[in-house]
C-alpha cells in the first residue's frame, strides 16, 4: 500500500524512509522488550530463592552476557575450555559419560561435574560446599590447574581487550568497565536462569493441564517419600546437607566436606545431590563411580558400607544397613524418578549457546 501510494505521488524517498523506520523499530523492539525474556520467575511449587536477586537484578543484556561468557573458552589459559565444556546442556549441564571431567590439556579432575541447575536455591556450592556464594563460584574452575588453569586477573585482561565484551558489559551494567564483580555477576545471571522446574512431577504438583501420575509413578512417589525424602527433599530433591552414604573412600581418599571444616565428623561426607534430571546426568555419586541408576539403587539396597560417619538414616533398627525395597517398590521408584526428568531444561535454546 505505501509502495503504491508513493509511486502515485512520486516520492520514492518517503518509501525508503518508511522501510528504514520499520527496520529500526523492529530492531529496537528486539533489543529492548523481547517477548521471550521474562527475567527470573520463581516456579509456583518452589520456595523463595536463597540468592538475593535484588543485589544482582537480572536483565536480558546481563543474562546474554553471562551466557556468552559461560560458552567462551577465553576463560581458560589456552582458550580451549569453556564452562560449557564440562557443563553440557543436553546432559543437564553435567559432563555426560565422564566419572570425572577432563579439563585443560586433558588433565583429569577428582570429582564428577555437578549440574548447573536451580542454583538460585543453593546455600553453598560444589560437592564439599567450600564456596558459599554463587558469585564466588566461577573463580574455582577458572583457577583450578586441571580445569581452566587461568587467573581471574588474566581473564579480565583478555575480556578488556576483546572487540565485543566492553560493549556487552556496558549494555548489561551501564559501564564498559569490566570489574571482578560485574564479570562474576553476569555469569551468575546466566546460572540463575538455569531453572529446571518443568518435569512431569512439577506439572502434577502445580496441577497443570490435568497432568497426573500413573499408578506406578504414584506408588513410586510413596516409596520415595518413605525411603528417599529424608535427604532428597522436595521440591529441589536435595536438603543440601552433607552426608556419608556408605560408599567408602575412593582410591585418592577424597574426604569431601572434611577438607572444608577439618572436622572429623565430616570425613567422607558429600553434598546430597538432586534427583532431578537423572536421565541425563549419569554417571552418579561425587566421583561418578556408579554408571547406572540400577547400580545406585543396588548400592542403597545391598552395598552400603559401615563407615564411621555413615548417615543414621542408612542404619536400620535390626543392625542392617541400607534401604529395604521389594522388587515392586524398586520398579515403582524408578518409574517415579523418571517423572523428575525435565526435557525442556535440556533442550531450551534459551540456555544454549545463544548467538
Amino acid at each position: 500500500m505505501a509502495h503504491m501510494n508513493s509511486r502515485r505521488t512520486g516520492r520514492p524517498f518517503a518509501v525508503l524512509c518508511l522501510v528504514l523506520a520499520c527496520a529500526v523499530a523492529c530492531n529496537k523492539a528486539a533489543d529492548v522488550a523481547p517477548d521471550w525474556f521474562g527475567g527470573f520467575k520463581k516456579p509456583a511449587n518452589f520456595p523463595e530463592p536463597v540468592y538475593d536477586l535484588n543485589a544482582n537484578p537480572i536483565n536480558q543484556a546481563g543474562f546474554e552476557l553471562g551466557r556468552k561468557l559461560f560458552h567462551d573458552p577465553l576463560l581458560s589459559r589456552n582458550n580451549t575450555i569453556s564452562c560449557a565444556s564440562c557443563h553440557i546442556q543436553s546432559s543437564a549441564f553435567t559432563h555426560h559419560g565422564h566419572d570425572v571431567s577432563h579439563g585443560i590439556d586433558d588433565k583429569l579432575g577428582t570429582r564428577n561435574a555437578p549440574p548447573i541447575m536451580n542454583l538460585a536455591w543453593s546455600k553453598n556450592f560444589f560437592w564439599d560446599g567450600g564456596v558459599f556464594h554463587l558469585d564466588m563460584l566461577a573463580i574455582a574452575p577458572i583457577e583450578n590447574p586441571v580445569e581452566m588453569d587461568e587467573s581471574l586477573m588474566n581473564v579480565l585482561a583478555k575480556l578488556r581487550q576483546h572487540t565485543q565484551y566492553p560493549r556487552l558489559f556496558e549494555k548489561a551494567f551501564g559501564s564498559p568497565e569490566i570489574s571482578t564483580a560485574n564479570f562474576l555477576k553476569a555469569l551468575s545471571q546466566f546460572m540463575l536462569m538455569a531453572v529446571s522446574s518443568n518435569a512431569k512431577y512439577d506439572k502434577v504438583m502445580r496441577g497443570e493441564g490435568h497432568t497426573a501420575f500413573t499408578a506406578d509413578e504414584q506408588a513410586g512417589y510413596a516409596v520415595y517419600q518413605q525411603h528417599c525424602a529424608g535427604c532428597h527433599a522436595e521440591p529441589l530433591f536435595t536438603d543440601q546437607s552433607f552426608r556419608d552414604n556408605g560408599l567408602g573412600p575412593n582410591p585418592i581418599n577424597d574426604q569431601g566436606r572434611y577438607m572444608i571444616t577439618l572436622n572429623d565428623t565430616d570425613s567422607y561426607k558429600f553434598k546430597v545431590p538432586s534427583l532431578r534430571n537423572l536421565k541425563y546426568t549419569a554417571p552418579y555419586m561425587h566421583d561418578g563411580r556408579l554408571l547406572t541408576l540400577a547400580a545406585v539403587i543396588a548400592h542403597y539396597r545391598r552395598e552400603v558400607r559401615d563407615t564411621p560417619n555413615l548417615d543414621p538414616l542408612l542404619r536400620n533398627p535390626d543392625g542392617s544397613r541400607g534401604i529395604v525395597l521389594s522388587e515392586t517398590e524398586k520398579t515403582d521408584l524408578l518409574a517415579f524418578l523418571q517423572t523428575l526428568n525435565d526435557e525442556k531444561f535440556v533442550t531450551d535454546p534459551f540456555l544454549g549457546v545463544g548467538n
Binding site: F132, I139, T180, N263
Partner: protein
Amino acid sequence: MKAYQYLIVFTLGVLSFTSCSKNEGPAPDQQLTGNLQLKFDHIVGDKKLQLGSGEYTNTAGELFTVDLLKYYVSNVKISTADGRTYTVPQEESYFLIDASVTESQFVNIEVPEGDYTQLTFLLGVDSLRSTMPVEDRTGVLDPAGDHNGGGMYWSWNSGYIFFKMEGQSPAVDLEGDPTGQHRYRYHIGGFGGYDAPTLNNIKTVSLDLSRAGTANVRQELSSNVHLFIDLAKVFNGSTTVSLAENPTVMFGDYSAFIANNYQAMFSHDHTHNFEPLNGTHE
C-alpha cells in the same frame, strides 16, 4: 656565684631540651588530622631480609631462603595513654604487605592528632569482610587483584590467604617437594568458617609504642612508626617448625601452629616524629 650561674644555664638547657624532645609544637587537637606511617621492615633474626638471595638458619638448624612473602594487615586501631582509641574506617583498613613491593611496606593512614602509645591490627582478613558480597571486595581484597603474580584468595574454599611465605631449603627433599625444587610453601588462612565452624587463624597483634617511641601525630606532619617483622619467629615460637617435616602447610590443622608462632613476629623498633609528609623514611 659563677658556678651557680652555670648550673642555672645548664638546668634551663636540659629542661628546654627535654620539653623539645617530648613534644615539639602545640598539644594535640583532636579536630585536626595528621599522618601515621607504619613501616614494615622484614628481618630474619639479626639479619635484614634479602628476598631470594639471603640464606638463614631456623631453630631446627635448617638452611632456608625466602623468595615470596605477603600478608594482610587489617582493622588498624591506635590508642593514646589516656585511653582514647581511634579505629581506622573499615573500608580503608586493608593492606597487603609484599616483601617484593617497596611501596606496600609503607602504610600511610590519616588519623586525628594525638600521642599514640598503642598500635593494634589484625594479621589477616576479618570474618565479616571474608563473607561480604563480591562488590565489597575491592583493592587488595579483589579476588582478581594483582597480588604480584600470586593469588591471596582460595577459590575452592572461599577465603583469603592471610600469610604466604615461600622459599627454598635443602631440608626439603623430593618427598616434601615432588617437583624437585626443594621449596617450602606456607599459605596460612582460615577465618573461622561460614556455615560450619572451622579453623580460625585471624591473629590480633598489639604493640606498645611507648617504650620505643610514642607516635606524636600532628597536622601536616608524619609520625613514622618503624616495625620489625622477624621471620625467624615463623619457625620458632610455641612450636619449633621443621621444614623437613612440614614443607607444605596450607588449609589444615598444622597451620594453627605456624599462625600462633608468627603472631609474635612484630616488634616496634623506633618512631620518627614530626617528619615531613610523603616521606618514606628509611
